[in-house]
């Protein structure tokens, strides 16, 4: 293991920095280290952490994974694409344009402007403990799963099960996100709207994500999710199931029923202001109107 970190000299306006920075050259080295030091902070591109206050980072050991070759691969099969956790988002947009679902590409664009995307990683974006980013909500909606590895063990979990209802990551000690698996299915209709600033964590923001696929008879699949302030998510699972098989365009009654299921959600009433509620209801209505 190449341990190239040390305690840096203090710079005006900053704390003393992390206790130690470790840059492993292989996944085996990283997993071995995590086995013995499960409390270590894990960084992909590091762009998110730079936005946090120095106090959050100070006095920690940091494991920087950007140099691990195994985590920088993209493998495509007939049914899905597996993306290494530290593949820069910008590279995905270039290379994945021909095969990634359009909704996934649009989600990846939300990671940041091009200079940030050239450093930020998808693995880092989905595994941020403090907040759920718009890209995470969108990837979750299209059934993305993540591979969690620790020494001698690996498992795939759907992104829906990757966090508990309060938004806390379900990662066992010593585990790290190593790959994301995005199913290669065609979504004929999709939308992503983000209001407010999702960065830094906890600021008022609202993200609406919708995806649907049609067949000859009507709606084959329908998904819709709402992400409030990067912390709480609403999924309309019952309404989503009810819509499957319905002919399009939907009747006004169908649309009202689905919007009512959104408005009945407790988070909708308690966590959104009037403008947020209007945006959410109207966003869903417009998406339903587009289905044809």
């Amino acid at each position: 293991m190449s341990n190239r970190g040390d305690r840096g000299k203090p710079v005006a306006g900053h704390g003393p920095g992390p206790d130690e920075l470790i840059v492993p050259g292989s996944l085996g080295e990283a997993l071995q280290l995590l086995r013995h030091h499960s409390d270590i902070g894990i960084w992909g591109g590091g762009t998110w952490w730079l936005q946090q206050s120095p106090e959050v980072r100070t006095g920690r050991r940091i494991l920087a994974l950007h140099a691990v070759r195994e985590l920088r691969r993209v493998v495509r099969t007939g049914h899905h694409v597996e993306i290494g956790a530290t593949v820069p988002a910008g590279r995905l947009l270039g290379a994945g344009r021909r095969f990634l679902p359009a909704v996934a590409l649009d989600a990846i664009r939300r990671v940041g402007p091009p200079p940030v995307r050239n450093v930020a990683t998808l693995g880092g974006a989905v595994a941020i403990p403090e907040t759920i980013l718009p890209v995470t909500a969108a990837l979750q909606l299209i059934d993305t799963s993540v591979e969690l590895r620790r020494q001698g063990n690996s498992r795939w979990v759907s992104m829906g099960q990757f966090r508990d209802p309060s938004g806390t990551l379900r990662i066992a000690p010593g585990e790290v996100v190593t790959r994301l698996r995005i199913p290669l299915r065609t979504w004929t209709h999709w939308m992503i709207h983000t209001y407010g600033a999702p960065y830094p964590a906890g600021r008022p923001s609202l993200t609406l994500v919708g995806a649907a696929s049609m067949d000859k008879t009507g709606i084959d699949e329908f998904r819709f999710a709402l992400l409030v302030d990067g912390r709480r998510q609403i999924r309309l699972r019952e309404a989503e199931t009810d819509l499957v098989g319905r002919a399009v365009p939907l009747t006004e009654r169908d649309r009202r029923t689905i919007i009512a299921s959104l408005e009945d959600n407790p988070i909708f009433g308690s966590d959104l202001d009037d403008l947020g509620r209007w945006r959410a209801s109207n966003g869903l209505r417009n998406f339903l109107l587009r289905l044809e």
């Binding site: 040390d6 840096g8 000299k9 900053h14 920075l21 762009t47 820069p88 664009r109 050239n118 450093v119």
Partner: protein, 158 residues
């Protein structure tokens, strides 16, 4: 920690705090100090391994072993020359603060594809927050630079 990297072709060695933005250190080298801190103003844009990044959103430890180029290091590069001529013609060169970001965004776009499509251009221009250039002006300049550069490449290959 000690990082060693190439800056405009010269080998540099610095003692850095790993989790501090690289701009803290690069700003002293290239003289551009004030930035927004979140990568949107593009003042601290640099090329890292041929891709545009903003030094304020790059942790200092990522400098280790990297090849960094700023605007001063681009002299002699034909694509950079074509971009600057197009910027002069459209009138973007007056944007002194955001110029590094504008040039490097154009550089990355045109390196990938000398004739980028509308979607590619919009994808890069939609993030521009500088008030000294409109998105349309930026896109026009990139298209012009791309056409000129492609023609040059074509003439060279004949």
């Amino acid at each position: 920690m000690q990082v060693e990297f190439w800056f405009n072709g010269q080998r540099r060695s610095l003692s850095v705090i790993p989790d501090v933005p690289a701009q803290e250190y690069l700003g002293e080298i290239h003289g551009r100090r004030g930035t927004c801190g979140d990568g949107s103003c593009l003042q601290c844009a640099i090329l890292l391994g041929g891709r545009v990044v903003t030094a304020c959103s790059l942790p200092a430890y990522r400098l280790d072993g990297a090849e960094i180029v700023d605007l001063d290091g681009m002299h002699g590069d034909t694509l950079h020359h074509d971009i600057m001529r197009a910027f002069d013609k459209i009138g973007i060169s007056r944007c002194r603060a955001a110029l590094p970001g504008l040039v490097f965004l154009a550089y990355q776009l045109l390196s990938d594809n000398p004739l980028p499509g509308d979607e590619d251009l919009h994808e890069f221009s939609r993030h521009l927050t500088t008030r000294c250039v409109s998105r349309e002006e930026f896109e026009r300049a990139v298209r012009l630079a791309g056409r000129v550069h492609k023609r040059k490449l074509h003439e060279q290959s004949r």
